[in-house]
Structure formats: C-alpha cells, structure tokens
C-alpha cells in the first residue's frame, strides 16, 4: 500500500518556489530517508504532507486518503516532529504530553498517565522529574518531541531532523528505536543531514534539490557495488602489470580494478607474489550519490 503519495506537489511563497513538482512515493514498511541541502524544501514538503501548509498545486495522499481534506481521519494515525520540538516552557514534560493528549479527539483519560510514561521511557526520558521544559537541554527537548510523536502508536512517523542535538549515544538509541518500530510495522519518513544515519536506517531515499525531487530509489540499488574492486598493496606497480587492461586508476598504494570476482583477482595477485593488504568491492557512499544527483541537476 502507498503510505505517502504526492503528485506534482508544488509550493510557491511569493516569488520563490520552495517545492516544485514533487512526486513522493513512500510504501508501507519503508524507512524513507528524505535528503537535501539547507533550503531545498524538505520541511515545506513535510508541512504539506501534514496539512499545515496548503500546496499551491498538486495532490497529497497520506495513508490512502487525500490531505488536507481528510486530516481529521489521517492525522490521528500519524506521529510527527516538524522543524524541532516545541512545548510550553513552564510545564513539565509529563504534563505537556498529558495536556497534548487531552487536547485532541479520541483520547481517554484512563491509562493516559501510563501512555505518557511509556512514551517517555521509549525515548530515554523515563527518569525525567517534574522540572519544567524550560530547564531541559537541547537533546532532552528533542527526545520529548519524539515522545509526543510516539504517544498514540502511529502507523506513520514523519520526523524532520529527529537526531538534531542528540549525543552519539542518543543518536544510536533513536536509530534502534526507529528500527524496532519499523520492524513492528511502522512506516517512517525521516529527513536528516546525517547521511551515515540515513545509510544505516533507511530502505529508500529521496533527494530534493532546489525544490525538485532529483532522486528517489531503494537505498540498496543506489548504494550498490560499483563493479570495481579496491586493492590495497605495497607493490602497486607489479599489481598493475599483472592486472593490465582492468586497472581503472592507481592512487598511491590503492588500485581500482574493473572486475566482479574478488576471489580470483586475489588468487592471481597472491600467486604472482604480490602482497595484498586488503581487497574489497567498492560501494558508492550515500554522500557520493547525493552530491552526484544534486550536481547533475545543477548543470542540467
């Protein structure tokens, strides 16, 4: 099933076009990484998905229903963090979550305290006391925002830069949390500038550049092997002579070899007396993919 589907989604603010003809396609069970440089339109797109900003043109469907027309039935199944968390500074985190829960429809009072505690526990704020949010650290606020998004066990999580301000352990914790939730059936759309995080968590990626979606594909296929082997040897000249015709580049003691079969290349080198320190298939990093996609677009 399509969890998020947009067609020709466009938003203009006066003269600038923040989002330009975007056709997102997020499927059930995806962890979708939403990438793009500062100002490329990620947050604006997310706001349109959630009915906060109205598109200039184009259509949005979330969980099979049109947005923003059906926000009353769609939004209860969505948890979101949009451009940073927010809470009234004078309330405690616990009270904020309870009040937010009470403010919306379909929230029963029984079990509310339990739900609040569960959500806080999930994001590592289980031990938080009655101090007001005003005194929270940046990472604590971020965790509180995540807890608010998780409160009602949503089918879809939309997280705009969720790891902002988290320490390395916190980032790892949130990664585990997202993967656990995803394994339990939650679809996730996450925007981030931490490409290594996206690479570790996401199944699909979309890249925005100046408001246009310049890439949308499975992570495995864009970050797959490049068909080259990387050979690290103290004797690159001998190795290059042995593998003549297949060497793409020599960079100091590293050779790039056009070959799929690492085992036979290794056998050939070792058999000829070339010491091999390491040998592995080259993979495109997400960074390369993103920079490539955006720079190609810039030329076009």
């Amino acid at each position: 099933m399509k969890v998020i589907r947009t067609e020709g989604l466009t938003k203009r603010f006066g003269r600038i076009t923040a989002v330009d003809g975007v056709g997102l396609d997020v499927r059930e069970g995806d962890v979708f990484g939403f990438l793009g440089a500062n100002g490329s339109g990620k947050t604006t797109t997310v706001r349109m998905l959630l009915g906060l900003v109205l598109p200039t043109s184009g259509t949005v469907e979330v969980l099979g229903e049109p947005m923003p027309a059906r926000r009353a039935s769609v939004l209860p199944q969505v948890g979101a963090l949009v451009e940073g968390p927010a809470a009234p500074p004078h309330l405690s985190g616990r009270r904020h979550l309870a009040l937010l829960d009470a403010a919306g429809p379909g929230s029963r009072r029984t079990g509310r305290a339990g739900r609040v505690d569960d959500a806080l526990e999930q994001v590592g704020l289980g031990g938080v006391d009655r101090r007001p949010v005003r005194t929270y650290s940046l990472g604590m606020r971020q965790r509180l925002g995540l807890a608010a998004a998780l409160m009602r066990r949503p089918r879809l999580l939309v997280l705009d830069e969720p790891t902002n301000g988290l320490d390395p352990a916190g980032i790892q914790e949130i990664r585990r949390l997202l993967l656990d939730l995803n394994a339990a059936g939650t679809t996730v759309l996450v925007s981030s500038h931490l490409l290594s995080e996206i690479e570790r968590t996401c199944t699909r990626v979309g890249v925005l550049h100046a408001g246009r979606l310049v890439l949308q594909d499975d992570l495995a296929s864009v970050c797959g092997p490049t068909g080259l082997l990387v050979v690290d040897t103290p004797d690159p000249h001998l190795a290059a002579r042995l593998l003549v015709g297949r060497v793409e580049a020599v960079d100091g003691e590293r050779l790039l070899v056009r070959d799929q079969d690492a085992a036979s290349v290794n056998a050939a080198l070792v058999g000829a007396g070339v010491p091999v320190r390491s040998l592995h298939a080259q993979r495109r990093s997400l960074e390369d993919v993103v920079l490539d996609a955006t720079s190609r677009q810039a030329i076009a």
């Binding site: 906060l52 900003v53 009353a72 939004l75 927010a86 009040l99 937010l100 919306g104 429809p105």
Partner: protein, 274 residues
C-alpha cells in the same frame, strides 16, 4: 481542547495575577473613599461613584465603571492577542493542529478561554466590590435600613430589581469584552507576535476612545467599538433607557460577527510555517 484550555487558564498563575491587578483599582478607590469620605460631586467622575457613599450596594456597578473603560479591555486584548500568535511563537501551534485539533475548534476553544477569563474577572471584581461596598461604604443605607436603593433617576429600586439589573449590567460588560476579544483574536491569527496582536486590538480601542471625544468624528461615533460601553448605567434609570443599550448590544454583536468571521476565514486556510 476546550477543557484543556480552561484547565490551563485556571491553573495559570498569570490569570490570577491579572485578575488581582484589575481588582486592585476598585479596592484602592473604595479604601480612599471610605477613609476620606470625599465622593465626587454627583454627575462627575466614574458612574455611580458619588452614590456609593450613601449606598454601598451600588459599589459593584461603580467598580465595573472603573475597570471597563481601560483596565479590563487591556487585559482581554493581551489574553486574546496571545491566543493563536502565542502558540505560533512558542512552536506549539503546529503540534496542536497535528494532534489533530481542528482549526475552527481551536479558535472556539481559545475564545471560550478568553471569555472564561472575562467572566471570572468580572465576577471577582463585582464580588469584591460588593463586600467592600457593604463593609466600608454606604453607611447610611445600612444603618437607616432604607426599603430600597435609589435609582439614578432618583426613584427607588427594590432589592430583587437591583440584583437583576446588576447582573444584566455584568452581562452587558461581558458582551463588550467579547467584542474586544474578537478583534484581538483576529489580530492574533494575522501576525506572528502576540505583542503585536494585542497592540493591534489596543490601537482600535484607544483610537475609538479618542475619536469619541472629537466633535469632527460625529458621523463615525455610532460605529466605534467603545461608543456604548458605559450604557449599562441606563439600566439603573427608571424606567430603563433602552435606546443606547440596544444599540450597544447590536454594535458589539456586529464587531463579534465581523471579526470572528475574519479570524476564522484567515486561520482556516492559513499556512502554518512558524
């Protein structure tokens, strides 16, 4: 959402601090009057103030006349100006809408919250004033146990009549504040800063009060927000002078319909991008 709004209002220290501030002025006036026994001459000063020295039960009305022109509407403008713009500035507006709280529902909840504040303030002011009135002022009517209270026209009103008319006056004052609240709520949907929203509503208030003193503004006067605010005094004439009261009610309802309508039209389709 309405319940959450009311709970937050009642639990907020700021609500009670504001009420205490608004309430302080009539208290000070009552103490001064009681100590000096120097009332304004009849026909000068705030309405009813000359009468309260002889009849303390009129003091709630005098207190109303003291806070209604300036103090109370400023507080209402600040509270209503903050309603939407405050949430936007704090960043919580988007999370309320995502919860989801419907946009119309949110506006209604905010208006109910502001009006709850108004009702609470008016009742607190009236109650304190009543206690002060019978405790500190109006020695004559208490000691002489006169059969009724003198109306503004000089005839006497029975106690039930006085009570009914006092509550009608309180209701009228609340309606006037609903007018201010509507203007400020509209401003609150328009701008990002709660302060700017309150200032917008206050500008209309001060402008209206100022223009009322200007002869050249005569053709405008029947439409100015504050034109009939003190018409509740006419409830205490014998017979009641309905003319200004009716106009006042219609005018306030006009402001409420226009500005709430504008607030709704603006907010329902607004891009939430703070």
């Amino acid at each position: 959402m309405i319940r959450v709004e009311l709970v937050s209002l009642l639990r907020s220290r700021r609500t009670w601090a504001t009420i205490a501030l608004v309430d302080a002025l009539p208290v000070i006036v009552a103490v001064l009057l009681a100590v000096t026994d120097l009332g304004p001459r009849p026909g000068t000063g705030p309405a009813f103030l000359s009468a309260v020295l002889t009849d303390g039960t009129l003091y709630p009305l005098a207190a109303l006349a003291i806070v209604l022109p300036l103090f109370l509407p400023i507080a209402v403008a600040v509270f209503a100006g903050e309603a939407i713009a405050g949430e936007a500035q704090q960043g919580t507006l988007r999370y309320l809408l995502l919860r989801p709280v419907g946009r119309t529902h949110l506006l209604i909840a905010k208006l109910v919250g502001v009006m709850a504040f108004v009702v609470l303030t008016v009742l607190v002011v009236a109650a304190t004033a009543y206690l002060l009135g019978i405790g500190l002022l109006g020695h004559q009517s208490v000691t002489a146990s006169a059969p009724g209270t003198a109306s503004v026209s000089g005839t006497s009103l029975s106690t039930p009549e006085l009570v009914a008319r006092t509550f009608a006056a309180l209701g009228y004052a609340m309606l006037c504040m609903l007018g201010v609240a509507s203007v400020a709520l509209f401003a609150s949907t328009l701008v990002r800063s709660p302060l700017a929203a309150a200032m917008g509503a206050l500008a209309l208030l001060v402008g209206s009060t100022l223009l009322l003193t200007l002869d050249a503004a005569d053709p405008l006067k029947p439409y100015l927000l504050t034109r009939y605010w003190l018409a509740f005094v006419d409830l205490f004439r014998d017979p009641i002078l309905w003319h200004d009261l009716v106009r006042g009610v219609l005018l306030q309802l006009g402001y409420v319909v226009v500005f709430l309508g504008a607030a709704w039209a603006n907010f329902a389709t607004k891009d939430i991008s703070d």
